[in-house]
Symmetry: C2
Subunit: 141 residues, 2 copies
C-alpha cells in the first residue's frame, strides 16, 4: 500500500500548515489572495468520488474550517474576504485537492476564477511568518 505524500507540484508552490484529521493543509504561495489547499491524505485519490462517504463528509467540514482560516488570513493581510471560492479541479495536478480562496470585488481577477490568472506574487519574507501563523490559528493547529 502506497503511503500518502503531497505531489511535488504542491511542495514547490505552497507551505505546509499542518495535518487535519483527513487533509494536509497548505498555504498557496501567492500573496494576491488568501488561499489554502486541502489535500486528503489518501494515497491514489483523484476525484471526490474516490473517497468514502465518511471521508467526503470530513472533507466538506474541513473545507468550512479552511474557509474560516482564509477569512482570518484576509484580516491579517488587511483585506477582509467578501466571498469564498471553493474548487476541486485537478486538471494539471491530478492528486485530489481542494482550493479554498478568499475573494474581494477589488481583487485583480474578480469576478473570474483565480486559477491560471496572471503571474503569482510571492509573499514578502517578513509577511510570510505572520501569514502562516494566522492560517494555523484559523485552522486550530
Amino acid at each position: 500500500m502506497t503511503e500518502f505524500a503531497p505531489d511535488q507540484a504542491f511542495v514547490v508552490t505552497s507551505h505546509f500548515l499542518g495535518d487535519l484529521f483527513l487533509c494536509q493543509a497548505r498555504l498557496q504561495c501567492d500573496a494576491r489572495w488568501p488561499w489554502i489547499i486541502l489535500i486528503p491524505r489518501r494515497a491514489g485519490a483523484r476525484e471526490i468520488e474516490d473517497l468514502s462517504p465518511g471521508d467526503r463528509a470530513r472533507l466538506i467540514e474541513e473545507s468550512v474550517v479552511a474557509g474560516q482560516a482564509v477569512r482570518a488570513l484576509g484580516e491579517a493581510l488587511g483585506r477582509p474576504v467578501e466571498k469564498l471560492n471553493h474548487g476541486a479541479l485537478g486538471n494539471i495536478t491530478p492528486q485530489l485537492h481542494l482550493h479554498v480562496i478568499g475573494r474581494r470585488s477589488d481583487d485583480v481577477a474578480w469576478p473570474g476564477p483565480v486559477w491560471g490568472f496572471g503571474t503569482k506574487v510571492a509573499y514578502a519574507p517578513d509577511d510570510l511568518e505572520r501569514v502562516i501563523g494566522a492560517a494555523r490559528r484559523g485552522l486550530n493547529l
Copy 2:
C-alpha cells in the same frame, strides 16, 4: 420565512432537471461541456458554511451523484469525461450553488477553468431532449 427559488440568472442559463433531497439540479445550457449545477434548496444560503453539517454532507454526496450524471452526459455526447471539476464560486450570482463539469484534455479551455471562458454554445434542439434525458437518468430522477 422566505421560500427557496432559483435565482433568475440560473433560470435563463440552465434547464431544470429535478429536485434531489437537498439540491435543485439544473443542466447548464452550454454544449461545450457536460455541466450540472446544484443549488441547495435553502433560502438565503450564500456560502457552504451557511448550511448545517447535515446539509453539507448531503451536498457533497449529491455532488458525487452529479459527477456520475456528468459522466453519463459525456457518454451521451460521445465525449467521455476524463476529469471532473467541482466549483462553488458565486462571485457573480451569490445564491449558493455548486458547478460539476466534465473535462477532457481536448476541450477548448483545458487545462484552465471553464468559468468565464469564451462564448457559450447552445445545444441543438434535437440534442437537448436526449441530453436532458441522460442527465435525469444519471441523477436517478
